[in-house]
């Protein structure tokens, strides 16, 4: 399977995602420069964390205009997998690929910590190897991870099972304790926590591995059906 990690100016978790795919999954992975116009041959696209364009003005506000984003939209429209982590999540909301927005943490501070998450749905290509209701521990590192959306949107998301991860102990003020959501078709996932930081014993946490393994399993099954 082939993964692509998009590099925006200011991305800084790109290498962490790259390593997670290459070293943990043992799959092919390439960096994709933000100026690229096409995304051919990739099975899953990762928008990594960091501070694209310095996160000036608003997180992800400038990155969403990158050339690559049109290609990401096409990729997603085909039903292929896209995952945005942290800044990647912010970019996906700014680009309209996911609903809602992420605003400043309620305590107005950057928070770096490892926090418990509840897996709300295993019914996505990203979470099938977790159990619904399972509590996992995943690192967070963000200043603007406070998820907001209007009532209507929240209601729809709940009905469609689009809320995928919630915090058990809300660190940032997110509505409905939301830590991660997906689109209606469930092929685009955005999450503030960093699963790529929780894939190795030496780092003291492997709870994020199954997310990558779920993706791989889904891709492999898809390929069989094709």
């Amino acid at each position: 399977m082939k993964f692509g990690v998009i590099v925006f100016p200011g991305s800084n978790c790109d290498i962490d995602c790259f390593h997670a795919v290459k070293d943990i999954l043992g799959q092919e992975v390439e960096y994709i420069w933000h100026d690229t116009k096409e995304l051919e041959g990739y099975d899953c696209i990762i928008l990594p964390g960091g501070f694209s364009y310095g996160d000036y003005l608003r997180c992800g506000a400038v990155a969403r205009f990158s050339k690559i984003m049109d290609a990401v939209k096409v990729h997603a429209a085909k039903g292929k997998l896209v995952i945005g982590i942290c800044n990647g999540f912010q970019i996906l909301t700014e680009a309209g690929l996911l609903p809602g927005a992420l605003v400043r943490n309620i305590n107005l501070k950057f928070i770096c910590d490892t926090v418990p998450l509840r897996v709300e749905s295993q019914d996505t290509p990203f979470t099938r190897l977790y159990n619904k209701g399972e509590i996992i521990r995943i690192p967070i590192a963000h200043g603007e991870g406070n998820y907001v959306a209007d009532e209507e949107t929240l209601k729809n998301m709940k009905e469609n099972g689009q809320i995928i991860f919630t915090y058990t102990n809300n660190p940032n003020g997110s509505m409905e304790n939301i830590a991660g959501i997906c689109n209606e078709k469930k092929n685009v996932l955005g999450m503030m926590p960093h699963p790529e930081r929780a894939c190795e014993e030496i780092l003291g946490n492997t709870d994020g591995r199954r997310l990558f393994e779920s993706i791989l399993l889904s891709l492999e099954e898809n390929r069989k059906h094709e």
């Binding site: 003005l57 400038v62 205009f65 700014e94 605003v103 400043r104 305590n107 907001v148």
Partner: protein, 79 residues
Amino acid sequence: MKAKVFVTLKKSIADPQGNAIKNALHKLGYTNTEEVRIGKLIELDLGDITAEEAEAQLEKMCAGLLANTVIEEYKYEII
């Protein structure tokens, strides 16, 4: 043509930063302060274009980049 854009959080969106400043003002003795909301002031020099062109540009800039209409509202002024 110069312009000012004012971007503020929608009323329905909580403003923790504004709250923090309100509390700080209370601590400093300005206990009469009832509300504080923090927004952005963006000053632009749009160069050599007409007021109409500026107006058209500003509308698009705001809706597209300068504000996120999911959470924010904007106003602008040409000066």
